[in-house]
C-alpha cells in the first residue's frame, strides 16, 4: 500500500450481464474530501458498493484503510460510515432508535449506542424529531438521519452518496460545513459521490471523474482548476485596446470580452510584473488581475465527451451531462 492512500484500487472489473459497470478502475484516495463525479450509470454506486464489499467484483485488488480489499470487506465495513443514496430505514423505529441500531450493528454496547446516537443527532441538528417514527420524516430529515447513522460509530472513512439531495439551501450549506469540519478538524477521509458540482467545489480537495465505468480523471481540485495552458485574466477599466496591442506586440496571444475583460494566453502568475509594466507604458488602468481557472463543469463535460468520442458512452448521456453541468453552472453563478 502506498503511503497516505486511504483507498487504493487496482484494475477493478465488474459486469452486470453483458453490461460493463466497472472497466479496469484504478484509483487512489488520500485523506481529505474527495468528490466522485460521473453521469448517471457511470458506475459510481457500483464502485461504492464494491468498496463496501456489497457487490462482488470479477477482478481487481487493493487496500482500504490498510485492509486488503476485497478479501477483508467486513473488516472494512466496520471502519466505514456509509450514507446511501436510496431512502432506507427500518419501519416502525424512531429516529434515535434507528441511529442506535446502526451503532449496535457496528459493535457499540446498547446504552453507549443510544448515548452516541443522541450525540451525533445533536451534531446533525436533529432536534425533538428524533423521537418520531422515521416513516414520518421529510426527505431532508431522512438525509440528516442517514448522515447521523453514518457517523454513529466514529468511522475514519465516510462514504456519502448524494448527501445533499432533498436538502433546502440552508440545510445543504450546514451539511457541507459538517463535512468540512469532519475532514479538517477530525481527520476523516470522506468520499463524496454527487452530481452537484458546486458542492464539490465547496468542500472537496480532490476529484475523481468516472465515466462509463472508467476513471477519466483523478486529481486534486487545485491542479484541476489550472488550465492546460496558463492564462491571466485582466479587468481593464481604461485603455484595454492599447494594452492588448502592446501584449500582442510581444508575440503573445490574447482574447477579449468587451468592454473590459482581456485574457492573456501563455503567461503564468509570475509574469504579472511584466503585465504591470506594459500597462504602465500604454497608460492602461488594470482593476483586477488573476490566473485563469478551468471550470469544474467544463472539465466534467470534457471527460464525458472524451468517453463519448471513444464510443463508450451513448450520445444521449453526453447531452444530459452537458445540460446538467450547464444548469448547475448557471444556478451557481
Amino acid at each position: 500500500m502506498s503511503d497516505a492512500a486511504v483507498i487504493e484500487l487496482n484494475d477493478v472489473y465488474k459486469r452486470y450481464g453483458q453490461r460493463l459497470a466497472l472497466g479496469g478502475v484504478s484509483l487512489r484516495i488520500e485523506p481529505g474530501v474527495t468528490g466522485l463525479l460521473g453521469p448517471n450509470g457511470s458506475g459510481k454506486s457500483t464502485l461504492i458498493k464494491s468498496l463496501m464489499g456489497l457487490v462482488a467484483t470479477e477482478s481487481g485488488d487493493g487496500h482500504v484503510l490498510g485492509h486488503p480489499w476485497p478479501r477483508s470487506a467486513r473488516a472494512i465495513r466496520d471502519l466505514v460510515g456509509y450514507l446511501p443514496e436510496d431512502d432506507c430505514y427500518v419501519a416502525g423505529l424512531q429516529g434515535v432508535e434507528s441511529v442506535q441500531l446502526g451503532g449496535r450493528l457496528s459493535g457499540l454496547p446498547r446504552l453507549e449506542a443510544l448515548r452516541r446516537a443522541h450525540e451525533v443527532m445533536d451534531f446533525c441538528d436533529i432536534g425533538q424529531e428524533r423521537y418520531r417514527q422515521v416513516e414520518t420524516y421529510s426527505t431532508g430529515m431522512r438525509q440528516k438521519l442517514k448522515f447521523a447513522q453514518a457517523l454513529v460509530h466514529d468511522p475514519p472513512l465516510i462514504i456519502l452518496d448524494e448527501p445533499t439531495t432533498g436538502l433546502d439551501p440552508g440545510q445543504r450549506e450546514a451539511l457541507l460545513n459538517r463535512i468540512g469540519v469532519l475532514a479538517k478538524k477530525f481527520g476523516k477521509t470522506i468520499l463524496l459521490s454527487t452530481h452537484i458540482l458546486p458542492d464539490v467545489r465547496q468542500v472537496c480537495d480532490a476529484v475523481v471523474i468516472l465515466v462509463a465505468g472508467r476513471v477519466r480523471l483523478s486529481a486534486s481540485l487545485e491542479s484541476m482548476s489550472r488550465p492546460a495552458t496558463p492564462e491571466l485574466n485582466l479587468w481593464v477599466e481604461e485603455g484595454v485596446e492599447r494594452l492588448e496591442a502592446r501584449v500582442q506586440a510581444e508575440g503573445i496571444a490574447t482574447t477579449r470580452r468587451p468592454p473590459y475583460e482581456l485574457r492573456i494566453v501563455g503567461l503564468e502568475p509570475e509574469d504579472a510584473p511584466r503585465v504591470w509594466g506594459w500597462a504602465n507604458e500604454v497608460g492602461a488602468a488594470i482593476r483586477k488581475l488573476e490566473p485563469a481557472r478551468a471550470s469544474l463543469e467544463q472539465t466534467f463535460v470534457d471527460a464525458v465527451r472524451e468517453a463519448a468520442a471513444s464510443g463508450e458512452l451513448e450520445p444521449r448521456a453526453l447531452e444530459s451531462s452537458k445540460l446538467a453541468a450547464a444548469e448547475v453552472s448557471h444556478a451557481d453563478h
Binding site: 458498493k49 427500518v90 423505529l93 441500531l101 450493528l105 457496528s106 459493535g107 446498547r110 453507549e112 432536534g127
Partner: protein, 317 residues
C-alpha cells in the same frame, strides 16, 4: 434542540465481537413487534393451554393413589389420544408408565394448541419481517455494517424462534416443573430427566422449519399481505388435503397410498406432528418418521437457500 451543543466528538470505546452483532437485529425486531398490543394478548392466550396440561399432570399423580383418577386418565388416553396400549399400562402399573404419560401429555401440548398458536403467531409477525425491510430498503442499513446475509437471516429468524419459545418451550418447561413439584417422590426426576431435552428438541423441530418457510415467503415480496396469504394457505391446503385423503369413504375407495402413512406428507402440520411424536418417543409402533424428517429437512434447506439468494439479490443492482 440541545441546551448545549458540543459539536462532533470522537468515540473510542470497546466494541462487541463481530460474530454476535446480529443479535442487535433480533433484539430491535423483537422490541418492534412487542409494541403491538395484539401480540402481547396473543402470547397471554398462548399460555392458557398449559393449564389443562398441568391439570393432567395433577390427575396422573393423583392416579398413583386413587383408582378413580386412574380410570379417568386411562379413558383420556383411549378416547382422546387413541392409545389403548398406554391406557392398559396405566391400569396395570401407572408408576411404570410415568415417562410415556408425561411424554404424551407434553406432545399433546405441542401438537394441538401450541402448533395452532404458532401458525397464527407466525402468520401475524413473520410476513413483515423481511418484506418491510425490502420495501424500505433497510437492508442497506444492515449490510453497510459488518453483517453477512446469513447473519441477517439468523437475526430475523431468532425473532420467530424467541416468540415460539415463549409460547411453547417456556410453558412446557413450566408444566414439567409443576409436574415435578406435584410428584410424591424424587424418583420422578430419574424417570423423566430427559423431558426438558425433548421439549427443547420438539421446539426446535417446530421452530426451525417453520421460521425458514415464513422467512422465505416474506423475502419474496414487499407486500406482507401476500406473504401472510401464502403462509396461511400452505397450512390450510395441507389440512384440507390431509382431511380429504384420510376421510374413510375416500380411503376405502382409493388406491393403497391413501391409507398409507405417507399421506401425512401432504400436510405440513401432520409432518411436523410425526417428527415431534418421534422426538417425544410417542410414535405408534411400526411408524417410521424418516420420510417426514427427510421432507422437512429438504424444505428447510431449500427455503434457506432461496431466501439467501433473494435477499442477496437486492444488492446486485
Amino acid at each position: 434542540m440541545p441546551i448545549i451543543d458540543l459539536g462532533y466528538r470522537r468515540w473510542a470505546g470497546a466494541r462487541s465481537v463481530r460474530p454476535l452483532r446480529w443479535l442487535a437485529i433480533s433484539s430491535t425486531s423483537l422490541h418492534l413487534v412487542w409494541r403491538a398490543p395484539w401480540l402481547r394478548r396473543l402470547l397471554m392466550l398462548a399460555w392458557l393451554p398449559s393449564i389443562p396440561v398441568g391439570l393432567s399432570f395433577f390427575a396422573y399423580e393423583q392416579s398413583l393413589q386413587n383408582f378413580e383418577w386412574r380410570q379417568l386418565l386411562a379413558g383420556v388416553f383411549t378416547n382422546m389420544f387413541n392409545r389403548p396400549d398406554i391406557s392398559a399400562r396405566i391400569m396395570a402399573d401407572p408408576l411404570e408408565a410415568r415417562h410415556d404419560i408425561w411424554a404424551m401429555l407434553l406432545l399433546a401440548f405441542f401438537r394441538y394448541p401450541q402448533s395452532l398458536n404458532m401458525v397464527v403467531l407466525f402468520g401475524m409477525v413473520a410476513p413483515r419481517i423481511i418484506s418491510y425491510d425490502l420495501r424500505s430498503r433497510a437492508y442497506l442499513l444492515y449490510f453497510s455494517r459488518p453483517l453477512s446475509v446469513t447473519e441477517y437471516m439468523l437475526g430475523k429468524a431468532m425473532v420467530l424462534i424467541v416468540l415460539l419459545a415463549m409460547t411453547c418451550t417456556v410453558p412446557a418447561l413450566g408444566v414439567y416443573a409443576i409436574g415435578l413439584a406435584l410428584s410424591p417422590d424424587t424418583s420422578t426426576i430419574l424417570q423423566t430427566w430427559d423431558m426438558p431435552l425433548r421439549i427443547v428438541a420438539a421446539s426446535a423441530t417446530l421452530a426451525i422449519p417453520t421460521a425458514a418457510l415464513a422467512i422465505l415467503y416474506s423475502a419474496f415480496t414487499t407486500e406482507s399481505r401476500y406473504a401472510a396469504f401464502a403462509w396461511f394457505t400452505t397450512w390450510a391446503l395441507g389440512w384440507v388435503a390431509y382431511g380429504t385423503l384420510t376421510s374413510s369413504e375416500l380411503a376405502a375407495a382409493g388406491p393403497a397410498i391413501l391409507i398409507d402413512d405417507r399421506v401425512r406428507l401432504v400436510s405440513p402440520y401432520h409432518v411436523l406432528g410425526e417428527i415431534q411424536a418421534a422426538v417425544f418417543g410417542a410414535l405408534p409402533t411400526g411408524s417410521d418418521p424418516l420420510s417426514a424428517i427427510l421432507l422437512v429437512s429438504v424444505v428447510t434447506i431449500a427455503a434457506v437457500i432461496v431466501s439467501h439468494y433473494r435477499i442477496a439479490s437486492q444488492l446486485r443492482v
